[in-house]
Symmetry: C2
Subunit: 228 residues, 2 copies
């Protein structure tokens, strides 16, 4: 397989049939050895985190595909830490779409004058640009249009998909008495069909999950979800 | 007159008839003695700046009132640096609504990966919270709704008023061969009628104006506008 791109938590390969394969690494985003899904640098290496991330991702992507929500997912080999995906192009240099059910993280840091930590939010959606140099700035719908990153129609479609996907993840977590506070999604366009697809991953690494008001670390999440 | 509130560039008084009077001070926002409309601290004191600010403000507010755009403006006494205004309540702890015709300032700092300095923007509107402690964070329509600061209808009304007002200011400046790059407005609700009104001021201190591609400092702007 040929290495196409070396990412922070995943590497991208093209296999001998020209298919795209994501390899889940043991690197996690954070700062000074502490995991933080809001950080945009690798902060720690944890053995088993790549495999755990893929186990969770394949679980959710299969649920989403079954619910007819379009994703880039084709198949996964959890032991090999490989996920086969459709070929996509991203919007601009990549967007992150965040859905928030409770006020924590950067939302609280920005709007703390108006909201208590942990207050409920109505599946609130916001978009940030993937731009390490500029600390992933928040961007509104009008600016996405003005900068030709998304049309108004694309924004609407992505925001609606985001709520649908986040609600599904929230419900799956609730089955295990876990509560989703927020989740970060990425979208791309299917290079063959032009369809907007959920891409990247859905794992502990891109959501904040609580149980009885206490934050659950990403790696512990797999235990709650997949073990009896 | 009784002092009600001491602001960064204006003080608010109540006169003997209970009317609200704004007193324009000679303080300007900026940093280390350099004017910057994007800063939210007083950075310098310039004799004559209060009077110049009120001269410009009364000029634009009278134009706006004549164009049936609702503002808090009643009358001004430029020599005394006093402006009489309607009594209003602000949204939340106060919002700033920015209209941008060209990419400079914080827009460029945030979205510089997608836009060149000075590139044209289509009367792009964005809202920030007045919150010195949190550096006036940008906030989108969904968050304004989620935090009960603005309803969807109020957001729409304010965004439309912002474009109308900014276009009027842009046209008035163009008469003197000046170009408006961006402008920062504030809105409130008339305490008597409930109507949404433009409040605060419209002066060099809350806009960026260029002439032949060169930035014009706020105080020099009055010279271009009002002297032959």
């Amino acid at each position: 397989m040929d290495l196409i791109y070396r990412g922070k938590t995943k590497d991208v390969y093209k296999d001998n049939n020209g298919e795209t394969v994501l390899y889940f690494k043991d690197d996690m985003t954070g700062k000074d050895g502490v995991f933080d899904p809001g950080e945009n640098q690798v902060g720690l290496k944890v053995e088993g985190s790549g495999k755990a991330g893929l186990q969770m991702t394949s679980f959710f992507f299969e649920k989403l595909n079954a619910a007819d929500i379009p994703t880039h997912y084709i198949s996964a080999d959890v032991e090999k830490r490989e996920m086969r995906v459709k070929k996509v192009s991203v919007f601009g240099q990549g967007l992150e779409v965040i859905c928030r059910f409770r006020a924590v993280g950067s939302f609280l840091r920005r709007y703390g004058a108006y909201v208590e930590e942990g207050a409920e939010l109505p599946a609130y959606v916001e978009v940030t640009l993937k731009d390490d140099e500029r600390q992933d700035p928040v961007i509104n719908e009008a600016a996405l249009e003005a900068l030709n990153i998304l049309s108004g129609q694309e924004y609407k479609e992505i925001a609606e998909l985001t709520v649908k996907i986040s609600e599904l993840v929230k419900e799956e977590l609730a089955v295990k008495d876990l509560e989703l506070y927020d989740i970060k999604l990425e979208f791309g366009r299917d290079e063959e069909t032009g369809e907007i697809l959920l891409i990247d991953e859905i794992s502990g690494g891109n959501m904040r999950v609580y149980k009885d008001g206490a934050y659950i670390e990403p790696l512990k999440l797999n235990g709650y979800m997949f073990e009896e």
